[in-house]
Amino acid sequence: MLSYNIQNFNQVLNDMNNENINLPEEDFNEGLEDIEQMLKPQCEFKASDTLKDEVLAQAREEVKPQRKVNLWPWVAAACVVGFAMLWFTPPEEKKADAALHAHLVSAYHTKHQRMVSNQMDARESFEDIERRLRIEGAQLKEEFKMSNQIY
């Protein structure tokens, strides 16, 4: 089937990478069809049935219109606001304490103002008035200390 001039065999091998040398046409054509036939595919190559569907699905995905509004800055801003609210909102217990404190302070000021505005009795001497005010002041001081201790 494959007849080849053996005398040229070594010559051909040596010249394999030298493309400037011309080979005899008759040598080349001898048995060429057989070799080409042997080098042709001998079986059928079949791609998977899913290949086409996968390619088309990916192509559809690529042409799907993309969302044009950037949502991430809004999401980030919402997260920051939520975090700030959590951070700055006082706990419920502290709220009650703060209200009690405010009430006591307000009561003290009201009482103090009332005392200061007490009309002085014209019959009292200056020393009596001073002594009375000192006693009342000490009492108020005690009350205020007590209220602070409660707080």
Binding site: L2, E36, C43, F45, L51, V55, L56, Q58
Partner: protein, 167 residues
């Protein structure tokens, strides 16, 4: 989805139906693993689709497909050099029962072309196995057509002598 996009998708579907088996054979004969070969083909077909979207001329598409699959196979070997199995061990690589025939074919052709210099064996593959013309081969390899023919001739002569020695 607008009408133009639908047209592009149906054009892609036509190309896939026409070319997928040829592309798969091209990739499989170089890679030898079905999954990897199909990944390469999928990537090539998606590149074709992107080209279609860029309004590429249809007449140049054929050459683009050939160049694209060839480059994709080269890239595959650049990315995965460790996955190359020596040819004498290729027969022992486990394959699915359905792929046994094409795997034997892969081993047969690669054994035949194993003794040729790489540039000659590739031209023989492109000419005989992938059925390309010398003009297409020359364009793909970036060489003159005469050089492609000359390399092919040397390869054939070498194969003839090898077979004679073997017999």
């Amino acid at each position: 989805m607008n009408e133009e996009t639908e047209q592009l998708l149906s054009e892609l579907e036509r190309i896939v139906v026409e070319r997928q088996d040829w592309l798969f054979r091209f990739a499989y004969m170089r890679i030898g693993v079905r999954e990897d070969a199909e990944d390469v083909v999928q990537e090539v077909l998606l590149n074709v689709f992107r080209r279609l979207r860029e309004k590429m001329h249809v007449e140049s598409l054929e050459q683009y497909v050939i160049r694209s699959i060839s480059n994709a196979c080269n890239d595959y070997f650049r990315r995965k050099p460790l996955s190359i199995v020596p040819l004498d061990k290729a027969e022992q690589v486990p394959v699915h029962e359905g792929d046994r025939q094409i795997h034997e074919e892969f081993v047969r052709i690669n054994k035949l072309l194993d003794t040729l210099p790489q540039e000659q064996s590739e031209i023989v593959r492109l000419k005989c196995y992938d059925d390309l013309t010398f003009k297409q081969i020359a364009e793909l390899q970036g060489i003159p057509e005469a050089t492609a023919k000359s390399r092919y001739r040397y390869a054939i002569m070498h194969l003839k002598s090898k077979m004679r020695v073997d017999s």
